[in-house]
Amino acid sequence: MAMTPVTEKDIRTSSRGTQIRLEHIVKDFGGASPAVNDVTLTVEPGEFLTLLGPSGSGKTTTLNLIAGFETLTSGSIFLNAADVGGLPPHKRNLGMLFQNYALFPHMTVAQNVAYPLRERKVARAEITARVRDVLQLVQLTGRDNDYPRQLSGGQQQRVALARAIVFDPRALLLDEPLSALDRGLRASMQQEIRRIHQEVGATFVFVTHDQEEAMNLSDRIALFNEGSIVQVGTPEQLYQEPDTLFAARFLGDSNVFDLGEPAGMTAACAEWENERWMLADGSAAAVGQASGRRALVVRPEAMGVCRDRGSVPPGHNMAPARVLDVQYLGSYRTLMLGFGAQHTPGRVRVDAGNRDYAVSDDVIAWWPPTAQRVVAA
């Protein structure tokens, strides 16, 4: 990759839809392992990409590296063609939204929103106009002269959002901006962020540990674990086609069957306890790839359940289980199961009106081979 010297102009010119490219970035705080370990990722112009992962997985550090709040140990960060890895945060021209809003308490709403424009020496009349427009965009017209402490949490986050986009940044970085809000408000703010993303058309990089939030908001998700990216894809790809057990478990619920080393596995079938399972074409390829432990993953909603093996439709895989608990959840009912001899915990979803099964019933769970996924364990 040819290194191009960066000028302010490079960064200012294309404000909308900037591409963010991370190449082998590493951040080592001197712990047992680097906080961010060789992450390579491209965020496309105008894309809404979420960095998802448990706490300590390196997602926030990655965001801080993009923002410039942390310095790279190695690797490079490009905004379009410009290498910004060595630039201080105030020269990167990125908007940032924090979990605690970080509004300046000694300034009014209008002064907060005008702050980035003042720092850029924008003319007074233009500042007034742009502040008015952006407050309208976040639906806070008329609150100009209020102080942050006079606003509710949701309103404060709207002000912070307005302040982060008013200067037309190259991209907006959002660091768990909704996690301090209560559940109902969080849902409406998610909608709000989606709408604003569509209206301003800028690149958004969103950090969260909440998989539902990530699925709801994102064009694509980069799943983090222990400082590295585990998998990148659309929410649907990540849910339907997890590559690893970690991905299968982090997004949604999964029934996991440990297949051990793939010795008992051919291209066409797998063995688990006394069961022989058919493999679909796609998973057969995954089996042959590398050595190591494998697991077979099935989503609870893809499983059916019945009393005996004879009732299982032909061409389906099955596993014996005992009902450990029944949970009524309004729109459906969940049977908590213990699979096989070890009572491996799992679950299956049945209709809300289905009262056929009670605790300690022995049942057969079944699923089509196309609904299962063989992953590295």
């Binding site: 201080p88 945060p89 908007g95 970080a102 409406s188």
Partner: protein, 298 residues
């Protein structure tokens, strides 16, 4: 039922009210006896001796020496306050950034003047600042030959600054503790250089602490007696030495009362003014707060 509980509630708050006053009584009694009555007596004398008159006050402005001393006191207090602020601000900032152990050390260092006896401290300064003392040698080394600060206003201000430092550092430290450092990150992200982030965010948010520190140091420095008496010289005396002279040597209680009252009024006026500035200019919050909505209307 309702009126019964309301009555009970009233009686309950009434007893609490009385209890609060009882708790205040000892301190209040002490203040009235040792501060309130003498102040009134002082003021009474200043306008009633030798007869009902204001000549004791006009005399202050007729005497050029008194005016000079007042001016010198004001000047010294301002300079000491400035020195304490310039030294104390970065020091207090460092305290907020240091780890628990280094913070304890920094706090102890700044509090040492509190824990030493005033006499020991002032005699130490006499030796430090005197002829052949380390300060003279230090100044020699930096190209100021034969400079003796003992007996000068500069020496007095140096010694006073040391004692005053904790009165500046502690309110600053308290104010800094309430500032969310993530605001500085936010400012950096919004396009501010580190210096701009400091002056536009940190400094205004710390202003309340700065003003508390200034008020404390300034008013205390105006009333210094032992340090200027021991470290300074009679030619450069400050207003408290003048007061001491009036009362203990000249026995002119009326004139001393007038001068004391004048200094008190000037100081209180300055404090009131600074409080006003602090109230309006620092962490701006209108007196009436709109009730915070629990939920977003949207």
């Amino acid at each position: 039922m309702a009126s019964w509980s309301a009555r009970r509630f009233e009686r309950h708050t009434l007893t609490r009210h009385t209890a609060n006053w009882l708790l205040l009584m000892p301190a209040l009694a002490l203040l009235v006896v040792v501060l309130g009555i003498p102040l009134i007596e002082n003021f009474y004398r200043s306008i009633s001796e030798p007869n009902w008159t204001i000549t004791n006050y006009t005399a202050i402005f007729d005497n050029s020496v008194t005016l000079l001393i007042l001016w010198r006191t004001l000047e010294a207090a301002l300079i000491v306050t400035a020195i304490a602020l310039v030294l104390g601000y970065p020091y207090a900032y460092l305290m907020t950034r240091a780890g628990a152990r280094s913070r304890a050390v920094l706090l102890a260092v700044v509090l040492i003047p509190f824990w030493t006896s005033a006499l020991a401290r002032n005699f130490a300064w006499i030796i430090l600042l005197g002829n052949g003392g380390p300060v003279q040698e230090l100044l020699n080394f930096f190209g100021f030959p034969n400079t003796v600060l003992y007996g000068t206003t500069a020496g007095v201000m140096l010694a006073m600054s040391q004692v005053m430092l904790p009165f500046m550092v502690l309110p600053l430290y308290a104010a800094f503790g309430g500032i969310d450092r993530r605001l500085l990150l936010a400012a950096r992200g919004l396009g501010s250089s580190p210096a701009a982030a400091f002056w536009k965010i940190y400094w205004p948010l710390s202003r309340r602490g700065v003003i508390s520190g200034i008020i404390l140091v300034f008013t205390l420095t105006c009333g210094f007696y032992v340090t200027p008496a021991l470290v300074g010289s009679p030619q450069d005396s400050l207003v408290s030495q003048l007061l001491a002279q009036e009362t203990t040597e000249l026995l002119n209680f009326a004139a001393a009362g007038a001068l004391g009252t004048f200094v008190l009024v000037v100081t209180l006026a300055l404090v009131a003014w600074a409080n006003r500035v602090a109230g309006t200019a620092s962490i701006a919050a209108p007196a009436t707060r709109r009730p915070v909505a629990r939920r977003d209307p949207a």
